[in-house]
């Protein structure tokens, strides 16, 4: 083992020994970090599922443009061509009056309503799908503005308001999660910091001796940073475990309880990247707590 590897081994050994010697306070820090991350993770799962639902709504989002009555088919096709060139438009499908009638029959089954009519009252229309990046209130507004200026268009219909409301709710949940996460992160940070401060006090003799025999600042401080990081990592992994167990146990009640938000889609757990960020967040939290404790430590002898 060369010197660098030896030093790394010794730093980790000191950190692990330190954790073992203050098992109770270290466990308290781990649990606090885990609670923080469980809450943040739970909100992440909720927001992730709401966003999934939004994406599905967004994929179905269509603007329907109705043609003026009596517009001939050739003119309607020309207008459809113009609409296809509007920025943000992904696809334009023309629905003739006959097709519209067939759909009406298919979806409503209300044959009786149509029996007394001499001719087909339904107008021809265009179903306009938007590019994903334009499926926002502003994107829809831009496309609408372009359509309203076109001759031959009688009116527009869209389902955007509901989606926007849902998006706002998802954002609200996300900001609530961030706010709550920040508050909890600060408390976790303080607990880790105090845990490490206690560890420093309890190991003052050891630090004093190490300093006397020539230990560098790095050699003295890094084990405490590692302790905080290990506490954070453990808290992060514990949080993932708790979230997973909770998810498995409560998937069905969650699905039923949140069916308004999720529709019929099955709830999903954290994505791998989200879980990794959560664990990494725990490690960073732990390391920052240690760094805060060490910043107030003036060192030992000399």
């Amino acid at each position: 083992m060369n010197r660098v590897a030896t030093v790394i081994y010794l730093l980790f050994r000191t950190a692990v020994r330190g954790l073992a010697s203050s098992a109770t306070t270290s466990s308290a820090a781990v649990v606090t970090i885990a609670i923080t991350l469980v809450l943040v993770g739970a909100f992440t799962i909720l927001v992730g599922n709401m966003r999934g639902m939004l994406d599905r709504f967004g994929g179905d989002l269509r603007i329907t443009a109705y043609f003026e009555e009596g517009l001939d088919l050739a003119e309607a096709r020309r207008i459809a061509g113009s609409v296809a060139t509007v920025e943000g438009v992904h696809q334009v499908v023309m629905v003739t009056p006959d097709e519209a009638l067939a759909r009406f029959r298919e979806t409503t089954g209300a044959e009786a309503l149509l029996e007394g009519l001499a001719s087909n009252p339904l107008p021809a229309s265009l179903e306009i799908a938007l590019l994903p990046e334009h499926r926002t209130e502003r994107g829809v507004g831009r496309v609408e503005q372009a359509l309203e200026g076109l001759p031959g268009i009688d009116g527009l219909a869209k389902g955007q308001e509901w989606i926007d409301g849902y998006a706002r709710a998802a954002n609200l949940v996300r900001f609530a999660a961030l706010g709550l996460g920040a508050v909890l992160a600060v408390s976790a940070l303080m607990i880790v910091s105090n845990t490490i401060r206690l560890a420093i006090y309890s190991r003052e003799d050891e630090l004093d001796i190490l300093s006397l025999v020539g230990a560098s600042r790095t050699f003295l401080r890094v084990p405490f940073l590692l302790e905080g990081t290990i506490q954070g990592l453990t808290g992060g992994l514990l949080a993932i475990l708790v979230l997973w167990l909770g998810f498995v146990a409560f998937t069905e009640p969650i699905r039923v309880g949140l069916s308004f938000f999720l529709g019929n889609a099955a709830p999903r757990f954290l994505l791998c990247g989200e879980a990794a960020w959560l664990v990494l967040g725990g490690a960073i939290l732990g390391m920052m707590g240690s760094a805060a404790a060490l910043s107030g430590w003036r060192g030992t002898t000399g």
């Binding site: 083992m1 060369n2 010197r3 660098v4 030896t6 030093v7 081994y9 010794l10 010697s21 003799d205 050891e206 004093d208 001796i209 190490l210 300093s211 006397l212 025999v213 020539g214 230990a215 560098s216 600042r217 050699f219 002898t301 000399g302």
Partner: protein, 250 residues
Amino acid sequence: MTAPEPGIGGSLPEGLALEQRDDAPVRMYHVSKSYLAGTFALHDISLSFGRGEMVFLTGSSGAGKTTLLKSLFAAERPSEGQILVLGRNIARLEGSAIPFLRRRIGVVFQDFKLLASRTIEENVGMALDVLGTPRRENRQRTFQVLKQVGLQHRRLHHPLSLSGGEQQRVAIARALVNQPQVLLADEPTGNLDPELTLEIMDLIADAATRGTTVIVATHDVSLIERYGKRTIRLEGGRVVEDSPATGRAA
């Protein structure tokens, strides 16, 4: 005794100028240390300690012995004057350079400063750990130095299972394991009975015969007389007597 040149200490550039004139590993030039304005723990001390020299520092409690020793391993900085240890000027030494200096200095205390939770081997090996000495080499060198102090068979024991004399031998082993050029001992036999005192002092004196500069703070007059080494008496932070070695051996 090598007398330092008066007046030269205040303007030395990191000790280089004196290094050419004087090869003593430890030199002090007009050193004063004051914690409160008007009171001095050390006052205008100029001393030099040669290679392989063993020196006793004596004086009553509060005379400044411990402060002087502490200033030599940079646990205290002088308020005035210059201290050159192994070519480094303590007064100007940056904090990050202190560990590198301490790796070349062994320090022994009256209260041993051993970690009760660590084995004897681990306590001694700490001095090698900070250098990143590979485990195998660490164990070999630790074994050798424990053999030198007669404790190799106790290397896996813990300090509290050892007698006071044995614990001090462990502390000496830790101080010597890096083959320091300077060994500082602050009342190393203060907690020991007379028989163990001689045992410990012999180990410390041995280091001087191998070329280490040894400075021992003690108020044990019988010990000073027995070893007949150069003796510096401090009173009120001043050097009041600097007696050369008498040549008497223990």
